[in-house]
C-alpha cells in the first residue's frame, strides 16, 4: 500500500582513538574498564567525558570509574539499521547506580523480553569502527 522505503545508512563511525583529549577513555575500554570525567571543583560527573566542566567551567577534571550495574531506563528494537550492523538490534538507555545514563546495545534480549526498570549489567564487546578495525565498547546485558 505504501511505497517501499529503503532504510538505513549512517555516517562513518568515527571516534578517533589516538588524536583525542580523552584517549584515556578509549584506552580504558580496551581493558574493559568504563571511566568518565569528574570535575574536581564542583564534583559533577559527566558522560560523555569532557575536558572542561559544563557546569562550573573548571578544567580540573579527573578520571573516575563508572559502576557496571544499572537499570533499564528505556529501549527500542531497530529493524532498519545502518550497514555494518545486522538487524534487529536492541538498543537501550541505562541508568547507572550513580545516576549517569548510557546509550548502547542490549546483547541478550529482544524488545518483547524487556521492561523499564530491568536490572542491567555492563559488559564489553568488539565493534567495527571507522578505522576498519575492531574496538571494544560497552554493551548491556539483562540480568
Amino acid at each position: 500500500m505504501e511505497e517501499e522505503r529503503e532504510i538505513m545508512e549512517v555516517p562513518p563511525r568515527y571516534p578517533n582513538f589516538e588524536q583525542t583529549a580523552i584517549k584515556e577513555f578509549w584506552d580504558a575500554l580496551e581493558n574493559e574498564k568504563l571511566i568518565t570525567t569528574r570535575c574536581e571543583s564542583c564534583g559533577k560527573i559527566e558522560f560523555p567525558p569532557k575536558i572542561i566542566c559544563t557546569s562550573c567551567y573548571s578544567d580540573d577534571m579527573e578520571w573516575v570509574d563508572l559502576p557496571l550495574q544499572g537499570k533499564l531506563y528505556s529501549f527500542a528494537e531497530m529493524f532498519a539499521v545502518p550497514s555494518g550492523f545486522n538487524p534487529p538490534i536492541t538498543v537501550a538507555v541505562v541508568e547507572l547506580e550513580n545516576g549517569v545514563r548510557l546509550f548502547g546495545h542490549v546483547i541478550n534480549a529482544s524488545y518483547d523480553e524487556l521492561k523499564v526498570g530491568d536490572d542491567i549489567e555492563i559488559t564489553f564487546e568488539e565493534m567495527n569502527w571507522f578505522d576498519y578495525k575492531k574496538h571494544k565498547y560497552f554493551v548491556f546485558k539483562k540480568k
Binding site: 500500500m1 571516534p15 527500542a76 531497530m78 529493524f79 532498519a80 545502518p82 538498543v91 538507555v93 546495545h105
Partner: protein, 389 residues
C-alpha cells in the same frame, strides 16, 4: 516595537521531485508567495533567511544562502542561512521575525527547502539524516531518527499505558487531512489496522508511525505590521514566538524520555508573549515526525495533561470538532517533511486557516488563534509560534 505580519505564503507540492533541483523548488515556492501578496516584487524585499538542514550532504552544496540568492534573484541587507536540524524552518522564521521586529528590515523573505531525492539511494538519504545525531556517542552505534522517538514511545507506553492503537489514531487522522490537501506527499486514507500491520521500523514504531522522506520548498513573506496591508487584505500576525534549546543532545543525556521538556518552556514563552493560554488555540500544526511526537507535543503544550495524550487523541479531541484541531495540513506524517521547509509550511497552513481559506474537511470554523510547533534533535530544540488575524 513593530508588529510582524505574514503577507504572502507559498509552497510546492511535497514528494519526490526527481526533475527539480533545490533552487527550482525554491523558485516555485517564492513565486507562489509573491503572487499571494500584492504590490511586491523580489526587488522590494529587504531581508532573506534560508532554512535548509543539510544541503551539504544531501546536495553536495554549501553556502546555500548565497547559492539560493542567485537563483531567487534576491539582494538582501540582512541575510542568513539558519539551521537547527528539523527545527531549521521555525528557527529561520524566528530569525526573520527578529530582523523585522528590530527595525533592521521592513520585509523579509523566509524560504525553507530540502532536496533529498538527489542522492542515489534511500540508504544514502537515511545516512544523511543520521548526521543530526551525535556522531561519536550515538550515531556510531547505529542510532537513527526512528530510534530516538521509539525510546520516548517505549517509556511513555510503560509509564502511562499509552497504546500502539492510540498512536496509530494520530497517523490515521493526519492522513485523512492529507487526503484533502493536494500538496501532501501521501494522500491515500489509511486505517488503524494499516498502521498496526505496517512493518516494524524501530519497535514500538512501525512504518506508518513514521513520516516519509520528501522534497519540497515553502516560503513566507514577512512585513512590518504597519505596512502589511499594502501587501495583502488578510495579514496574519505573529503574536508570539517561544523557543528553547536544552544542553542535551545524546539520547542518554535527556533528562526525561516521557516528555518534551524544552517544549513546555517554549510553549509557555509563546503563550506569554501572545497573552493567551493553551485553551485559546483553535488550530495547531505540530511536528509529528513520528506519531509519538504529536502525542508528546499535545501534552507538553498543555492541550491535555501529561500522560493523557493517548486517551485525548482516541476521543478525537485533536480532530476537527475536538478541543483543538491538530495537523489539518496532514502533518509531517502525510504532508511530508522536507526538513528545512517544514516550519515554513506550518506557517503557511496556519495562515490559510486564519484566512478561512482551507477546504471543507480541513478548515476549522471560526479559527482565530493558530499555533505552529517545530522541533529539532530528540525534541531538545523546540520552537512555538502563535498567530492571529
Amino acid at each position: 516595537m513593530t508588529d510582524v505580519a505574514i503577507v504572502g505564503v507559498g509552497t510546492t507540492k511535497y514528494g519526490k521531485h526527481l526533475d527539480k533541483s533545490g533552487t527550482d523548488l525554491a523558485q516555485m515556492a517564492v513565486r507562489e508567495a509573491l503572487n499571494d501578496a500584492r504590490n511586491i516584487t523580489i526587488r522590494d524585499i529587504e531581508g532573506f533567511v534560508l532554512s535548509s538542514q543539510n544541503p551539504e550532504i544531501l546536495q553536495k552544496q554549501g553556502n546555500s544562502v548565497n547559492h539560493y540568492s542567485e537563483f531567487l534573484g534576491i539582494g538582501a541587507k540582512y541575510a542568513a542561512r539558519v539551521e537547527g536540524a528539523c527545527v531549521s524552518g521555525t528557527m529561520g522564521l524566528r530569525t526573520g521575525y527578529l530582523a523585522v521586529k528590530s527595525g533592521m528590515v521592513d520585509t523579509c523573505l523566509v524560504v525553507g527547502v530540502e532536496k533529498c531525492y538527489e542522492l542515489p539511494s534511500g540508504s544514502d538519504i537515511m545516512a544523511a539524516f543520521a548526521y543530526v545525531i551525535d556522531r561519536d556517542w550515538e550515531a556510531a552505534f547505529g542510532s537513527n531518527a526512528p530510534m530516538g522517538f521509539a525510546m520516548f514511545a517505549t517509556r511513555h507506553m510503560q509509564v502511562y499505558g499509552t497504546t500502539e492503537e492510540q498512536l496509530a489514531t494520530i497517523s490515521v487522522k493526519n492522513r485523512n487531512f492529507a487526503s484533502k490537501n493536494p500538496k501532501a506527499h501521501l494522500q491515500k486514507p489509511i486505517t488503524v489496522e494499516d498502521v498496526l500491520n505496517s512493518k516494524p521500523v524501530c519497535k514500538p514504531l512501525k512504518l506508518l508511525d513514521c513520516c516519509p522522506v520528501s522534497d519540497g520548498a515553502s516560503a513566507v513573506i514577512l512585513a512590518r505590521g504597519d505596512i502589511a496591508r499594502d501587501y495583502t487584505d488578510t495579514p496574519v500576525y505573529i503574536r508570539g514566538i517561544g523557543q528553547f534549546l536544552v544542553p542535551e543532545n545524546v539520547i542518554s543525556s535527556l533528562s526525561d524520555l516521557t516528555e518534551f521538556t524544552a517544549l513546555k518552556m517554549a510553549s509557555q514563552e509563546a503563550y506569554r508573549q501572545a497573552g493567551i493560554t493553551a485553551d485559546d488555540v483553535d488550530v495547531a500544526e505540530t511536528h509529528d515526525c513520528f506519531t509519538i511526537a504529536e502525542l508528546l507535543e499535545i501534552e507538553a503544550m498543555g492541550f491535555c495533561e501529561k500522560g493523557e495524550g493517548g486517551r485525548f487523541v482516541e476521543e478525537g479531541q485533536t480532530d476537527l470538532g475536538g478541543k483543538v484541531a491538530v495537523n489539518t495540513g496532514g502533518g509531517l506524517l502525510s504532508r511530508g517533511h522536507p526538513i528545512g521547509a517544514t516550519g515554513i509550511c506550518q506557517a503557511s497552513i496556519i495562515t490559510e486557516q486564519l484566512r478561512g481559506d482551507a477546504p471543507k474537511g480541513r478548515q476549522v470554523d471560526g479559527a482565530e488563534i493558530g499555533l505552529s510547533q517545530n522541533l529539532g534533535g530528540w525534541g531538545t530544540s523546540q520552537a512555538v509560534v502563535i498567530y492571529s488575524r
